[in-house]
């Protein structure tokens, strides 16, 4: 049953442990989102390029990642990465068990998932921009890099912002799955606390509340950003 006395801060309660573990999902999702956006810039570029091979690769990547469960991607990268590194280790004569850094592998797997979603967001944002813009920049004598950095990128970012907000929410919620790798974040800490105190309901409800605070707060931030990016919009 519910036992709120378990949630107090300090040595007798689990409140401080839970609050500290909340930092982990924020860190994982911030770094995963950064990695995801970085990858997505190149995969979205590959998707709109004329090179068939690049296009095929990018389409394959987004289809596969969006088509298989997130949990499988995390298992595949965490355990698969560990076993392939051990395989390499064996070639060099090391036969011990190598476990990878849970935070790094969790970030990479969540980053790869969010990159697939961000790719589609960027591709959509790019196609929302009038072709004439690039042509006009070209006719003004801007180089391709200048055209991208000064003309296209700011507009792509503006169109992509609402979509990126959705991807951020997905990424934030996906971090709950990283607990399977042993990384101590909200879900892991919740499991530990409920195993010790035999009061899972209390801690699961607090975990739900913590996630709700995180998602609500970040959607507020994204709303602010969207308002900021639309401040020059002329309402006719």
């Amino acid at each position: 049953m519910l036992r709120f006395d378990l949630l107090i801060l300090g040595d007798t309660g689990w409140g401080d442990e839970l609050l500290i573990s909340t930092i982990m999902p924020i860190l994982v999702s911030l770094s995963a989102m950064g990695l995801g956006v970085f990858i997505a810039i190149f995969t979205a570029w590959a998707k709109i390029s004329d090179n068939i091979l690049l296009k095929l690769f990018a389409n394959f990547y987004t289809t596969v990642i969006r088509g298989i469960p997130e949990l499988l991607v995390i298992y595949l990268i965490f355990f698969g990465g560990s076993s392939s590194i051990m395989y390499v280790g064996k070639i060099f004569g090391y036969n011990g068990y190598i476990e990878l850094h849970a935070f790094t592998m969790g970030t990479i797997s969540i980053g790869l998932i969010s990159a697939a979603y961000s790719t589609e967001v960027f591709r959509g944002a790019y196609s929302a921009i009038n072709k004439g813009q690039a042509e006009a920049a070209n006719s003004l004598g801007l180089s391709r890099l200048q055209t991208f950095l000064k003309v296209l990128a700011p507009q792509i970012l503006k169109h992509a912002l609402p979509g990126l907000g959705n991807v951020w929410q997905i990424t934030l919620k996906d971090t709950a799955l990283v607990s399977v790798t042993g990384l101590v974040e909200i879900m892991r800490q919740t499991r530990i606390a409920s195993n010790v105190t035999h009061s899972p309901l209390t801690f699961l409800l607090s975990a739900a509340l913590l996630y709700l605070i995180l998602t609500t707060f970040s959607s507020k931030v994204f709303n602010k950003l969207e308002n900021y990016s639309n401040k020059n919009k002329v309402v006719v």
Binding site: G67, L71, Y75, F79, G80, S83, D174, H198
Partner: protein, 229 residues
């Protein structure tokens, strides 16, 4: 990478396909049915109805599915009142816990998708229904909901894919579907890549089928958009 092992794993994991499919089919159809009254309530002008559905959607969409599954599987069982009631017959089975969690989750997302569809029905259509003397039930059953479903099809297709993917989380409640079998194989053979690639390919194929099904539905229910030859 051992291809023979992956090939053998494939045939072990595919025995879990029916468990996955049952989860998907039961929770999607229950979710579909429950979402209809929910989305009508959400789109209604009654503030109390609309807001209560909104808060439900807000809470479910703001928390990870894993938390919801754990809450139902590990959390509800600790309430003595639940343990003694008839609910315990259902809640002690990981399968039904999974179904309940998935239904609660999908209803929240589907309600929002259907609401978008209902709100896309133009005012003129509703006015003509009223001028023809239709009562509210006929209006919803014959005009508003069919139009709304057609509008909501692409979004609902995405939700179906998400549900196929979400069933893999039910493996964390000891229910042995494809992901659970793949994890067991990994623990036995210490060959994670072979196990998870086999499972992943089946999920990918399932989702491919879902996409084709949605494309067919869109083709069927949008005859006015077909290119005439």
């Amino acid at each position: 990478m051992d291809f023979e092992l992956a090939y053998n794993n494939f045939f072990i994991i595919i025995t879990g396909l029916d468990e996955t499919l049952i989860l998907v089919i039961i929770s999607l159809s229950l979710g579909f049915i429950i979402s209809i009254p929910f989305s009508i309530a959400r789109a209604s002008s009654n503030k109390i109805l609309s807001n209560s559905v909104y808060y439900y959607v807000f809470v479910i969409r703001g928390t990870p599915l894993l938390v919801q599954i754990y809450l139902i599987y590990f959390g509800l069982g600790t309430i003595p009142a639940v343990r003694e009631s008839f609910l315990w017959i259902v809640l002690k089975e990981p399968f039904w816990c999974g179904v309940i969690a998935l239904v609660i989750n999908t209803v929240a997302y589907t309600t929002e998708i259907f609401r978008g569809g209902i709100e896309s029905v133009t005012k003129g259509q509703i006015e003509s229904c009223k001028s023809l003397g239709m009562n509210k039930f006929t209006m919803y059953a014959k005009i508003i909901l069919p139009c709304a479903f057609r509008q909501a099809l692409p979004g609902y297709g995405n939700e179906m894919i998400l549900m196929v993917k979400s069933t893999s989380l039910i493996s964390l409640t000891t229910y042995m579907e494809m992901t659970g079998l793949a994890r067991n194989i990994m623990y036995k053979t210490y060959a994670p890549i072979e196990a998870f690639l086999a499972a992943g390919s089946i999920y990918l194929f399932l989702n491919f089928l879902v996409v084709q099904f949605i494309k067919f539905l869109e083709w069927k229910y949008n005859p006015h958009l077909r290119i005439k030859s």
